[in-house]
Subunit: 386 residues, 2 copies
């Protein structure tokens, strides 16, 4: 196990009706809020009205940034920064899924930064002071509600980068599983794949002795495997939605990555797909993951795949090692198929035209992962996934 610093200051209000704490949680940080949301689904569900009423009752003045898009754009961030400055905003309140919260976090950082907000995306070390963020989550997927990460795109350059700051961790997040009842089958499936990919990125590592972390990662994977299909079939099953929501936060809040730093391999690959084609992030991850697994399976890595197969999929530990590993990979692909996620890039409109450039760009953003990849390795994985 490697040395680590673990610090998760976000206060989580979890469960039915926890929105009642919004006013207090926001008021703690000031009286002028920037409300950030997406395409207006929160207006259909009535959540917008609830939030506005609660903020008003707490004496909070609200400025709005609406229309934040999936794969949030730097243009939205810049608009948010402008609104913060013009209105002397004290606290940023995103209400939505990962894209909305990611956008809000970089807005909060950008409001305290003298230059252009894109600097903070490509140079995380430039993030200093950040306005407090109090988030209301409506989609279980990215885990942004409990960490310092954000991913922002610049479509003008087909760029999509992740940034991070300890200071961007939300001060509080409200997680009411009932808000995810209305999430579509497709988004529920993609969210589950996203959560699982976060866990895989941490779980597949070469660090000796990160036993606790691996066992917890398996616990989280088993929860996704158990409840993902339930949420698809019964969208208003509270326990399924609650478990997926809580796992989404735990998968990427530092818990399973501490002591065994996360290499980030499949995420940078997928970031190129969604930067170039604007596809759903979780779908891209689900398509790539089994192909990545097959590509990196070898004599050195088979042990970790055996752990995965036996502990997560319950495959007989007495079988041959590669047999277990290959079965585990097949189970993974079959699970994503069961969730109704396309299995190939062509099905989501991606052809061979940009594979080389995407491969080159992705390796520039990779950590020193489970199996370090070069551009030609990524290209081979992309081609296998076509």
């Amino acid at each position: 196990m490697e040395n680590f610093v673990y610090s998760v200051p976000t206060r989580i209000y979890f469960g039915k009706g926890q929105i009642q704490n919004l006013g207090t949680a926001v008021r703690e940080w000031g009286g002028r809020a920037l409300l950030v949301y997406g395409g207006g689904s929160i207006k259909k569900t009535g959540l917008y009205d609830t939030v506005m009423r609660l903020l008003k009752e707490s004496g909070v003045a609200v400025t709005e940034l609406s229309g934040v898009e999936p794969n949030p754009k730097i243009t939205s961030v810049r608009e948010g920064v402008r609104l913060c400055r013009e209105n002397g905003v004290d606290v940023v309140v995103p209400v939505g899924g990962g894209s909305t919260i990611d956008c809000a976090k970089v807005v909060a950082a950008g409001a305290c930064y003298g230059g252009d907000a894109w600097d903070l995306v490509i140079h995380p070390e430039k993030i200093g002071k950040v306005l407090p963020v109090v988030a209301v989550l409506t989609l279980a997927a990215t885990g942004t509600e409990m960490n310092g990460n954000a991913v922002i795109s610049d479509r003008s350059k087909n760029d999509k980068f992740g940034t991070f700051s300890q200071n961007m961790k939300p001060k509080a997040s409200i997680l009411d599983p009932e808000y995810t009842f209305s999430v579509s089958r497709k988004q529920t499936a993609a969210g589950t794949a996203d959560i699982m990919s976060h866990i895989f990125e941490a779980y597949f590592n070469n660090v000796p002795g990160a036993f606790t972390q691996s066992r917890i990662a398996e616990a989280l994977l088993k929860t996704c495997i158990h409840y993902g299909p339930v949420a698809l079939e019964q969208p208003e099953n509270y326990e399924a939605r609650a478990n997926l929501m809580w796992v989404s936060s735990l998968a990427i809040n530092g818990l399973i990555g501490c002591g065994a730093p996360v290499g980030w391999t499949v995420h940078p690959m997928e970031h190129e797909l969604s930067a170039f084609y604007d596809i759903t992030h979780g779908v891209g991850l689900a398509i790539l993951t089994p192909h990545w697994m097959k590509y990196v399976l070898n004599e050195n890595t088979v042990g970790k795949f055996v752990e995965y197969g036996v502990n997560v999929w319950g495959i007989d530990a007495g079988l041959d090692r590669f047999e277990i590993a290959n079965r585990a990979i097949a189970e993974t692909a079959a699970f994503f198929k069961k969730l109704g996620i396309p299995a190939t890039l062509r099905e989501v409109g991606i052809g061979g035209e940009n594979l080389e450039v995407m491969a080159r760009k992705s390796v520039a953003c990779m950590g020193n992962g489970f199996v370090p990849l070069r551009a030609e390795d990524v290209l081979a994985i992309f081609r296998a996934a076509l």
Copy 2:
């Protein structure tokens, strides 16, 4: 899953040499520290000198409270409160195991309270402001380094109570597994039993849908079962010490108890044993646990024991339910025996003389546990454990 609020603001510095962060972590809170420690083992190991040097280098003035005993006494707390007031202490720095840190936390609360510190032990709601605590942990057991709990005894009345405040959570804790290399076989075994008991108290619950929490609890139990015996045989095995240390914190920092409130059954029983006989807490827990399990196993509870047996001990899920449950309980008892822990109360000097009064006092401190117990139930468990 029930509603919950999750907030763990403690910053953990984990690993070899993390003590180098002590000066900065303390200085953040002020220039006058109360150093709290126990019987002087930190002087033998050299840790005392290191701590004093680092605090001095950071310009921190140090007052000392030494001699904090196992099962820390209210008399030590009162002395610490006096020292805080006389010396205008800004920050309390315990260096030691659970007893030292528990004592320091109540000292930190007592220093900001007008009345006698015992009030804060029996009336947790009276705890208001608390001086910041920065802890250095030298024993993996109680988890106090990452939560708001403390247990204090008043030997003059054979009283031992747990108290809690969100404000008593340490601001930072330094966890260097190497500090536990010198922990004796007996204390290593007792610490492992204490960790496992914290997990059991949370794991055995009746809350439907707390799936994530149960799977994580099993992950932590498997870590204890894997590494407890390794640490006993190879006291300087870093991975064993590191995993036990990190699990000790995760077992009782709110992670596995959120959404499925912890009932606390075996701990209050054991508190009476150590209040009356001053035995090692973890030893008392290990003696009582299998007897408690046998006592509460019935048609309503067998399902949870099946989960435990299959997921933690790998018992064949195809067996009869009660067969699985009884095997799981037998495995639990055998594991504690393997750790060298006595199996009966008589072996630790406890006879039948105080069983009734201890049973009566313990039920007064029990939550609404997995199976609610009356004094006669506790008495039956005590008698079975004789």
